[in-house]
Subunit: 262 residues, 6 copies
């Protein structure tokens, strides 16, 4: 018997790769949580851009909140030309923002077709399906991504998907469904999640327990920023919070500096 | 490939323009949050006044809480003569305070006309419509503003619109509807939002995640004031909280001073 | 174009008039919030007494919680003889405490008469009407106060009016109705409001956003008291919290002292 | 016109009478709030005992939680022989603990007799009646106390009466009903109330706003005790928190000492 | 008239008997509250063991959570042989854990038999009865304990009984019913209760107000333990928190040491 | 009479065995609580691995959240070859993640078959049964484990089982059912539980009171980790929080170091 090393996918964020001992575990899903303005979208896009340009990997950005032109424009300010990557077939933008247009009835209807499940169960299933299976003109996304051979996928943000579920257990179920759908694809995935509290006394959110990895981005009271690896299954990491900045080339993590004196 | 610079709309608040590296991103919507008495309305009016007098831009103030005479009188105390700007066709005041007179039934009625959507969905749609499309004697506001060619729009306050939605998901949907309606117009927009908590342990509000930019105004325990850019998509900004004052010429931000020792 | 100065109504509380740069803005409504025992009623009565004795103004005290004999007796301990002012027709006490005797049905009944509005809407309207329009033997209060020519009005306390509304949006609507009813009269008005939290981490109450001015009275842990102008539309004020005392001549504010070291 | 001095009822607790400038305002109702074990019952009994033995006043203890034998035994440990006072007709113990035996139906029944009020309104009225009007073999308590000529009354505790009302507005109404019933008697009254939070960040309870006076008893983290006059209408008092002890002769307040350094 | 001294039941915990000035008041009920692992069961068992072995008193342990074999085994680790005491007829273990097997219907059924009380009232009554009256083969526990002549009784834990009541007022009623049932027996009783919060800012639980005595056990952040007498009617006690340890002979309180510097 | 020593099952985590004075009490159930990323699964697996490899004990891992391949892969990174142990019949992995696929109806259905119990009671019973009795092709797990002679069992995580119960009392009942089912097997058991709050002011969770032992794992603000034995019935332990690390050989506890200065 001998120990095996889990394959890593480099993030392209230098200091972070040091904290992660090489990158994200491949073919796994990591949650990126943080308050407003902490740079979650930039973080994820930098990960995609690095994979596409440095590793020649196929990448996918599944957007719940932004449109493609907005995304392209914002990323260009960091010098990341996703339009060009799209033309080179290294990047695919999937606009899933339509999910919020699904009328409420779908969440209440008692029975649909002849499926012997309760209305709510179905509605949730259909919601997830709407995103993962049927958005691209009838083709299923998983098949689409299978054909594409995507190796890096970002879902931004999960909160845009789950906010409609008011019961805690339903939300938890939906989160599990989403993670399972992503895991089945076999790519290295990032999911962003909006933090509900941003102070020192952080409230744990259920998705943190359901993820294989969790990274928290935080803006401190004085405007400084800190990144912290809360959880990373299957690999030893640096769990100390480290400072980071959003500069004109993206995110920079200072892995040898401390936020709190020790 | 080369990096592009996003166009900026100068705010006219000197120190703030430094923090923003020139002003607000053009054709985008920024949220101004803050407790009572932090000067949200003054902040937004100064932005409009600067655009109208210095740039000759058409400006619109969409008011949920105040009447036109109140607004005119208050702004005159800072030396801003919006009445004159109105006569010069550089400023339009839209009084949307009637929205709170819409009877509750509209929010409960099961079906209206023959539209195959649920009652609540419709009610929300109608509410937004009431403000954005039908307030000016049957004309639609977007067309009205289109004809006007407005370049700066302020909606003060969003809370006056959304307080009627009791379910979290409905409120979120309404916020998205409002932002989308504003974005479609193509102007540089500010929306004010009432903070629910004002202490150090700030509670995040959903609209902060749904906005492209968020600026927080805060009155500290000792009476001092601090402005902080929480989020600004598409442009690098100064995220350190800076002191500001409300003086007789409006708001002054001291971009080279610190609130917290670092 | 030139700047205009808003007219001020002197409060008669020396230090406070300095903080307010002369007094309350005339013909506006200011909210006085504070915990139990902070002197809200004394504060408001001193304002009325000053107006009646020093300026010869007509004054009105609209009471939700106290009876006239109680009020007269308590105010006499500060040397304020409101009974005499009543005889001189400079003061009117309106006992609205009966509002809490209105049976609950009024808040639930589906339809009353033939008005095509929902039950709850009607009930709220009727409640406000009961206070502002029909308490004095069928005469409407606004007409009554119009005839009287009241220049200073105190409503003590709003909480006594709004506690029956359990939904947040209903409470907000009721607060707006009350403020509008007062504003229509054209006098300088004060409304007291009970603070729900009294610690350092103050919770914002909706009425603070809906008022043109807000003053907070606070008793600190060590028994000292602090007054703070949270908001005052249309006029520059001193936003630093200042100490005050309740002495035998009423309230004294020490406008040149600090509560917190700066 | 001249200032009048409100009559005071000496408490018999030396330091407290200094803080109160003589004692409680006569014919008024004061609320005694505090956590478990702060000595609320001892405090109130000392007030009754002093009135009966030093002033020869008639006193009444209205008990919601304790039986007469328990009360007699506990008070004897402080040397207060209420049994003897009862024999001398200076003290009356009214056991109202039966109120918790009133079955729930009374709180739900739609209509009783032919009274045209809603069920809940009636139930509350009846509850208060059960205590104040009909407990002593059909005689009404107010008439009974009128005949007796009681000058000091203690109701211990209000929480034992109001805990059955689940809606905030119902509880507030019940508190007002109780206070009004006591005030109508014309005696100097104390009502005890259980504090819901006992830490530094005290939560305000509605009864504090509805009382003419409020005294808070607190046990600090280190076991020391502090008494604080939060509110006392109609009289100037010492609002600084002062230390107190429960010793073998009852409560002792050290009115010249400080809890917090100033 | 002379002061009487309340009889005390020695606890056998040396330092605690000093804090209590001799022990628990006889024939009264004291509440033992504390977080998980603070030693509530050890505390109570030590009290029973001391009474049985040192005073030859009959003792009863009424268990809601543990079985007899578990209890016997755990107590033996402290050298307390309750099995032997059982054989000597000085100890009785009553296993009431079956109460959680009572199906929910009992809590909802509208009417049972012909009793003219509401369903919920009955259910609560029956629950208490199930424990106190009918568990031992049809014999009533109170008669059983009467025959036995028990002088020390422990009920561990009340939370195991009351958790089924979801309404606050129902829980309070149930707590009162339990305490009354115990008081009627005439023994010195301890009831354990699970603390809901364990930090410095303790939340008061209703049972603390309804008990004649309350002792709080706490594990501090650094692993140290503190015992504090929050309340003890009818006797002067030491209210300062004191350190304690769980050692191999049971609980040891250090009554001359301080937890907090004074 | 003499004191007996409870048998201990060594954890294989050196420092922890010192804190536990030898290991976990045999044939008992201990709860492992902690925030995301504190290493709960690693902790439990190390306990199983030690038992299988060092003591030759049969071990079982009952998984609610992870699949067998994921588990095998993650554990290999610590050098623990559970696949080999499985082949040696020293380890059994039971995948109970299907429990979240049970449709909601089971939780709502009024009556199933002819059992005279309420729907919810049945649903809960069935849920627990689904896991403990019927998952392995119709065989009951308890019989299965009986045949196997398992001596160490881990259930990871309880939260994955109980999140569906929304009422507090139902959740408590389910927790008791689970613990009883495990205790009946007679093995030394660990159950993991997700902490809801992770700050200094820890909120107590009901399962902590219902367990015989509780160990808390915590990641501090600065990234350091602390393990603390909150409760351990039947054995004296070290209750001081101690630092631990997750290294490449698993968890290491530093039992002679302190987290907080004393």
């Amino acid at each position: 018997m001998e120990k095996i090393a889990i394959q890593k996918a480099e993030t392209g964020i230098t200091g972070l790769d040091m904290m992660l001992r090489g990158g994200f575990p491949e073919a796994r899903t990591t949650l990126i949580t943080g308050g407003p303005g902490t740079g979650k979208t930039i973080f994820c896009s930098q990960f995609l851009h690095h994979g596409a340009t440095e590793e020649g990997e196929k990448t996918v950005y599944l957007s719940l909140d932004e449109t493609k032109p907005q995304f392209f424009e914002e990323m260009l300010t960091f010098g990341w030309d996703f339009k060009k990557l799209e033309q080179e077939r290294l990047f695919t933008f999937i606009d899933a923002s339509d999910v919020r247009r699904i009328p409420e009835q779908a969440f209440e209807k008692r029975s649909v077709g002849s499926l012997p499940v309760s209305g709510k169960e179905l509605a949730r299933a259909r919601l997830i399906d709407n995103i993962f299976k049927t958005l691209e003109g009838g083709r299923s996304i998983d098949k689409f991504i299978g054909d594409l051979g995507a190796q890096r996928i970002v879902l931004d943000s999960m909160s845009g998907l789950t906010f409609r579920f008011t019961e805690a257990w339903e939300k938890r179920q939906a989160i599990l469904d989403i993670m399972e759908a992503l895991n089945d694809i076999g790519a290295t995935c990032l999911i962003t999640s909006e933090a509900i509290s941003v102070g020192e006394e952080r409230q744990v959110q259920p998705e943190e327990y359901l993820s294989q990895g969790v990274i928290n981005l935080q803006t401190l009271k004085n405007g400084e920023r800190a990144v912290r690896i809360l959880k990373m299954r299957g690999t030893e990491v640096d769990s100390v919070p480290r400072p980071y900045k959003i500069v004109e080339t993206g995110i920079e993590v200072y892995a040898d500096q401390n936020i709190y004196q020790t």
